[in-house]
């Protein structure tokens, strides 16, 4: 049978960023899916090695507009790991508060977009309207609606005022009411049930096999959450105090992903309240001092899943290696498991259901002679071997590789 391919992208109303899907379809049914990224690669990891330790947070903040605190958060945790220091309690609470505010507005943004994708523009506009309250609170807390610049190695970059905290409490009340309304009105809508239930199921086995993370894996029954599994900053005490819980659902379809996100928004609201109520006094930052030689890892539960940063230092004022792994990078391949066998109308939803963030995920693509190609594992091994041989030749030593080749 002749297969038709349906191109979606690189520029398409469904996609807020440039990427290219090729759906192989048979009638209205999707048989296979292929994805191409690399339209927007900016080389952040390389840029980071040209900046000082304290400049890097500002750079990584701009990896993504929505998870703008998750990347610097993971980065400062990595550097603190390298230094072996911990932020003072108030700094920890402030960082966690901003992190959770980000989760609330990110999930509300996704809820709105999900509504838009199923043609429910009223949900879109309403969700974004209530998101504004949270953004206002973020602006009062940090000075910016997004790109808060609140993370610094050794604590928070600025203190927050009691006035801003009070305002945030009110904004959280509004957001809680709105989220509960969405949970009641939207999740009980029979048409939404019809559209979302049983669509794009990602089984628990597939979620584990593809290494899915965050709100992509938790709806499939994989209870993985960095905030609990490897507690950092204020997350440990707040979880122990029972301020919030991890939302895990079992079905793995788009409906569960939506419900999971909406419930997570509520949990984040509770967590923010707990953080504000228990905000300790005292210093909010320590002076980290010189960065010694060594390496460090940091990870943070971003709204889309685990974001991981690795840094290596040679004792100078700049990292010599900085590695970023954004959650969407591991969530994208789950399309291979969840898309085939579904209708085109549903695939648009499934691709949106992992809340993809392509700018976080961008990797280099090679364009030569007007054609795009990606480097495979074999290509990379070949390049690596060639480089080793080159260095050996330069050093004039007998090749250790020769016996393996």
């Amino acid at each position: 049978m002749k297969k038709t391919t349906l191109p979606i992208g690189p520029f398409h109303p469904l996609l807020e960023e440039p990427e290219f899907f090729t759906f192989h379809i048979d009638g209205e049914t999707v048989v296979d899916v292929d994805l191409r990224i690399g339209y927007n690669h900016r080389g952040h990891e390389k840029l980071a090695t040209g900046l000082t330790w304290d400049q890097v947070p500002f750079l990584v903040e701009r990896i993504c507009g929505i998870c703008s605190t998750s990347h610097p958060y993971a980065y400062v945790l990595a550097v603190e790991d390298l230094l072996g220091i911990k932020a003072p309690p108030r700094g920890q609470f402030i960082r966690a508060l901003i992190g959770e505010m980000e989760r609330i507005h990110s999930h509300l943004l996704w809820l709105g977009l999900a509504g838009h994708f199923i043609g429910y523009n009223t949900v879109w506009m309403w969700a974004w309207r209530y998101r504004e309250e949270i953004l206002d609170a973020c602006e009062l807390l940090s000075g910016n609606r997004n790109h808060y610049a609140m993370n610094r190695v050794g604590g928070a970059r600025r203190d927050v005022s009691q006035k801003a905290l009070d305002f945030t409490m009110n904004a959280l009340d509004v957001a809680e009411k709105a989220t509960k309304m969405f949970l009641g009105a939207v999740a009980d809508d029979p048409v939404i049930h019809k559209r979302l239930k049983g669509v794009g199921i990602l089984t628990k086995e597939d979620a584990i096999a593809y290494g899915a993370t965050g709100p992509t894996s938790r709806p499939s029954g994989v209870p993985f959450d960095v905030r609990v599994d490897d507690p950092y900053d204020a997350y440990g005490p707040s979880y122990t105090a029972g301020a919030w819980k991890v939302i895990v659902t079992e079905n793995g379809d788009v409906f569960d992903k939506m419900v999971c996100r909406v419930l997570e928004t509520l949990e984040s609201i509770y967590l923010c309240r707990w953080l504000i109520e228990n905000m300790p006094d005292g210093d909010f930052q320590v002076i980290p001092g010189n960065i010694p030689e060594g390496e460090g890892c940091g990870h943070h539960e971003a709204p889309r899943g685990e974001v991981f940063h690795y840094v290596r230092s040679d004792g100078s004022n700049k990292p010599i290696r900085h590695k970023v792994r954004a959650p969407t990078f591991v969530n994208l391949p789950t399309y291979k498991a969840s898309c085939p066998g579904e209708q085109i109308a549903d695939v648009a939803l499934i691709t949106a259901s992992i809340d993809p963030c392509y700018c976080c995920t961008e990797r280099v693509g090679v364009v030569a002679d007007g054609r795009h190609s990606s480097l495979t594992q074999d290509d990379l091994v070949k390049l690596s071997v060639e480089r080793t041989l080159e260095i050996e030749k330069k050093m004039g030593v007998k090749s250790v590789l020769s016996k393996f080749r």
Binding site: T4, T5, L6, P7, I8, H12, P13, L14, I25, G27, E28, G115, H116, F117, I118, G119, Y120, N121, T122, V123, W124, M125, W126, R129, D189, V191, I192, K194, R195, Q343, I344, A345, D346, V347, A348
Partner: protein, 307 residues
């Protein structure tokens, strides 16, 4: 005189202005529901004239004649629809026996032209949109025909004028149990005919990027948009004609009452489109062949029994 009817009133010019204003009303109400400001009243006109001034891009793989003819035929058919409807409401003797069947036929032409035009465009997205429009057409025509047949039986007349005369004598069909059920079915069929949410799968901006209209641009797209706008004006009037005693221009109150009925139905359509997500095409077809057909048959049986 026929030319005047067709081109000026109640045909092309009047229907186009009324249709674009209706589109604006729909957009404005939608915006208010969304907590947005919404466009000014002339926005639909501005959009139309801007599109008219844009280049018509012909896709490389398109069958050019079919591709370009489709919007023209669609527009001509929807103007005919508006003319027949307007004349029948103007004077009940204007019609002829069986004009409701002609009317129903012309009502299907814009949809068929969307199928043909999108099919001729030769791109996968248009092809999917075209096939969806076809499925949708097959879906909603079944209950739609049953409802129209029910009204023909009830009024005992095959002409729009006859149906209006029956309602003048016996009161609007809407004021009966079978009438209410049939009206709900017809309203949802109209929603699908206009390609509005929850039945906008053929366009599905977020899935197909415009679907059936994906390859259209400039004046050709404007033709389709205008044809949709004219249908947006005609179809609520059609519902009023079938169910609610028509638009009667006897004195000032009559016009006001007619306008009220019209705005009410348009508002109903707008509310439906803002409180529902898009149905998948197979779900939409199942919905029409299942629930809507059953409901229309129930209405038919009730009306035969005089309810």
């Amino acid at each position: 005189m026929q030319v005047f009817y067709y081109l000026i009133f109640p045909g092309f010019l009047f229907a186009a202005v009324a249709g674009l204003l209706t589109t604006w009303f729909d957009r404005k109400v939608t915006a208010r529901v969304h907590y947005r400001v919404g466009p000014p009243w002339f926005q639909s006109f501005a959009d139309f004239f801007k599109l008219m001034g844009k280049e018509v891009i012909l896709p490389e793989n398109a069958k050019k004649t079919g591709f370009l003819l489709a919007p023209i035929v669609a527009l001509a058919a929807s103007v005919l629809v508006a003319t027949i409807l307007g004349l029948s409401n103007w004077s009940y003797d204007n019609g002829f026996v069986g004009d409701i069947i002609v009317f129903w036929y012309f009502l299907a032409v814009p949809s068929i032209m969307i199928i043909l035009g999108a099919g001729a465009a030769g791109s996968p997205l248009s092809a999917v949109g075209s096939s969806r429009e076809m499925k949708l057409l097959l879906g909603y025509e079944v209950p739609f025909v049953i409802v129209i047949t029910m009204i023909i039986f009830k009024a005992g007349s095959l002409s729009l004028g006859g149906i209006l005369e029956y309602q003048l004598a016996h009161g609007p069909i809407l004021y009966s149990l079978s009438g209410v059920i049939a009206f709900i079915v017809a309203l949802l069929c109209v929603q699908a005919k206009l390609g509005l949410v929850p039945f906008d799968a053929p366009e599905a901006e977020t899935e197909l990027g415009g679907g059936a209209f994906y390859d259209y641009s400039g004046a050709a797209l404007a033709g389709f948009k205008l044809s949709k706008a004219i249908l947006f004006y005609s179809l609520p009037i059609f519902l009023i004609t079938l169910f609610w005693g028509g638009v009667r221009i006897d004195g000032g109150i009559g016009i006001l009452w007619a306008l009220l009925k019209y705005i009410l139905i348009v508002a109903l359509i707008t509310v439906i489109r803002n409180t529902n997500p898009r149905l998948r095409i197979d779900q939409a077809v199942k919905f029409f062949w299942g629930w809507m057909t059953i409901l229309s048959v129930i209405a038919f049986i009730l009306s035969v029994n005089g309810l």
